[in-house]
């Protein structure tokens, strides 16, 4: 009886915490939707029809749901990447580049490894290997920035952006050159198709939803476990909150910074790998326009909590996926979605605005996400 009562009250507590944590993001979304509606009205569209199209296009049918999950998959990985870095006090704006690097290497292993070896590999080896190499290369790409931060103090914000440009230029160089699909009809900068043995099986016949989506959910749970139940997670969070205190507590701050960036990059790389092995079966130039940037908004909207990120990813995925239907119904350009997402980000980041509008009192400490140039 006693224990039952306690568990009841703790369940209520958890519910209360979840409600508290999701109140401001929810109101931020609401505000962004209202402001977005005003913008639609202003440029001569029908906001209700537009939002109806958005919902129909993203949730209205089995196919629409499947497509939303397909969109959500890279968002979850990339959102987790940004969030993990946030937890460690680092701002990874480079998910876009790490994702491209992951995709390129997964594609390379996917199509070229059987040629190099001279024989076909079984799926149980080839597929995990392709994913792993892409993930690892994404990790190294970010790890370089982590090492620069740890040993020289070079700020990760500018360095990840520079690495983005380097990654995108290099990718375009490779996809137009040595890695280009040589089939005679091809004029696009893309790799050849990866071997059958490196492809993920589909979950349902006829729908594009793939096992990568399930993997994304598992990885989200893993990251939650890593951050909250392991020593490494504790170290990452401590360094993020206060590197000086972490140092006095005996945590190797430099090592932790590098590991945080490495893990963050691996998650972003995974986003690219999964897109290649699960969905497109090749890497094509410009397949990811803005995943890395949307990921920042997703991480902020999800308050850097894995569950929050899964939910935020679904929201963003639904908006992207429903945009086509919205455009069909109202002739509003798809770019409108970017506008609304930017507004969501604005209201989430500046939660003071939301609190001011809805008269919600702030409680608790301000969470510091990043630090200035000092390093």
């Amino acid at each position: 009886m006693q224990s039952e009562k306690r568990s009841h009250s703790s369940a209520r507590q958890i519910l209360q915490t979840v409600l508290d944590a999701s109140l401001v993001p929810f109101l931020a979304i609401l505000t962004a939707v209202v402001v977005g509606g005003i913008i639609i009205r202003f440029v001569g569209g029908d906001p209700f029809l537009a939002y109806k199209g958005l919902i129909q296009g993203s949730l209205g049918s089995k196919k629409a749901l499947s497509e939303t999950a397909v969109w959500a998959t890279p968002y979850i990985f990339a959102g987790l990447a940004v969030a993990l870095a946030f937890k460690g006090g680092l701002f990874n704006i480079g998910a876009e580049g790490q994702l491209a690097v992951g995709a390129v290497f997964s594609a390379l292993i996917g199509y070229a490894l059987p040629e190099w070896l001279g024989f076909d590999l079984p799926t149980v080896i080839h597929l995990p290997l392709a994913i792993f190499v892409g993930m690892l290369m994404g990790g190294i790409w970010a790890g370089i920035v982590g090492a620069l931060k740890a040993y020289t103090g070079g700020h990760e914000v500018i360095n990840t952006i520079m690495m983005n440009y380097i990654a995108l230029n290099t990718t375009s160089f490779l996809l137009n050159g040595v890695m280009k699909d040589r089939s005679p009809t091809n004029v696009i900068a893309r790799t050849p198709l990866i071997a059958e043995s490196a492809r993920m099986p589909s979950i349902f016949e006829g729908l594009r939803i793939h096992w990568g989506f399930v993997l994304a959910l598992l990885v989200a749970f893993f990251i939650w476990w890593l951050l909250n139940k392991t020593t490494l997670g504790f170290e990452i969070r401590t360094v993020g909150l206060n590197p000086d205190a972490a140092k006095y507590a005996g945590i190797k701050v430099k090592r932790t910074i590098i590991i945080t960036m490495l893990l963050s990059g691996m998650l972003a790389g995974l986003a690219g790998s999964i897109e290649v092995t699960g969905l497109n079966y090749r890497h094509e130039l410009g397949f990811s326009v803005g995943y890395g940037y949307d990921a920042i908004a997703i991480a902020l909207l999800g308050k850097s909590h894995p569950l929050g990120i899964v939910l935020a990813s679904f929201l963003f995925a639904a908006m992207r996926n429903g945009a086509t239907r919205m455009q069909f119904l109202t002739q509003m350009p798809v770019d409108l979605i970017s506008m609304i997402q930017a507004l969501i980000l604005l209201f989430v980041a500046a939660d003071a605005i939301v609190r001011y509008i809805y008269r919600i009192k702030s409680k608790g400490e301000r969470v510091v996400l990043t630090r200035g140039w000092g390093g």
């Binding site: 001569g44 500018i158 380097i166 930017a342 507004l343 980000l345 003071a352 200035g372």
Partner: protein, 370 residues
Amino acid sequence: MDWKRFIFIALIIAVLFGTVVMVGQAKQPPLLIITSMLATTIAVATPLTLGALSGVFCERAGVVNIGIEGMMLTAAFFGWLGAIYMFHIFELGAGVSIFLGVIFAILSGGLMALLHAALSITFKVDQIIGGTVINILAVGLTGFLNRQLFFGKGSVFGGNVPSSPGVLPTIHIPITEIFAPICDASEVCLQNVQAINRVFDQKPIAIGAILLVFFAHYILFNTRWGLRTRAVGEHPKAADTVGINVFKMRYANVIIGGMFAGLAGAYFTIESVPSFEPMLTNGRGFISLAAMIFGNWTPIGAWAAALVFGASQALLINMQIYRDVIPPQWSFLQESYIVGLTPYILTMFILTGIIGRTTPPAADGVPYEK
């Protein structure tokens, strides 16, 4: 800026110029190559210089501005759009339209900066997040309006992107006219004078940017306004105690910074080419930030650093000209891809602090709580 840093800058520029001279001398005499490199360097360094100045004003007042990229992009769009509206809808003359376009660009940069100021000063949002919001908002806003205004339902342009009234003209500085008599009808001498003249024949924003560098230096270090700006960036509490309004100073400087970024945006669509494409700033706002850091938060230092980036971009442009005469052992220079990476790698290299550490203003990035 210490002398070591200037020597380093001179060294890099010398290497970049030397590479082009080495490759191009098969085609043109060195003087012509150097002057053409110089002219390009100054022109392409313009948005970087202005962007860095934008950062200097914001950060000297204690507000980290990572949103320069977004402010530039917004300004590039609205400047271009404004010029088109003035020209086609209000049917003003081309010259007036272009001039008003520049004004629109500056104002829209200032407006974006106002948003950044509100976020970081009033709402005390993490300033790097605030800047990221600006950047993402700018991409969304310009992408949406670019599509909607020209191709949307009921667009006054009916699905066509109308031609822009053009770009700002080059200002001719009469060096050739002055020095031609000295040459005494010598053909080679006259050619050289003309080549040197080309370095100085720049467009208005490029010339304005250089003047603004020295103006900004004067304002920051020789006026009461500058002293107050630096005070609120170094020690806002002390500044507040002696009666300086920290919030007002910060707001004003962030907005001034945004206007600099706005002028940088105007460079892209009103001075360089008369067209807009989504995300055309292509990271130059961030490179400006690196220039600002390398220049140790001083206008002249930031300008010098911007010239390094300008030179590396000029290298890329000039390599296209000498493509066919590149010696085989230097064939990697043919790859515009490899040469194109120079500014990004240079930025990362500079940020390592190998060439000496820089110190940001003490209260940079810290919201002021009264």
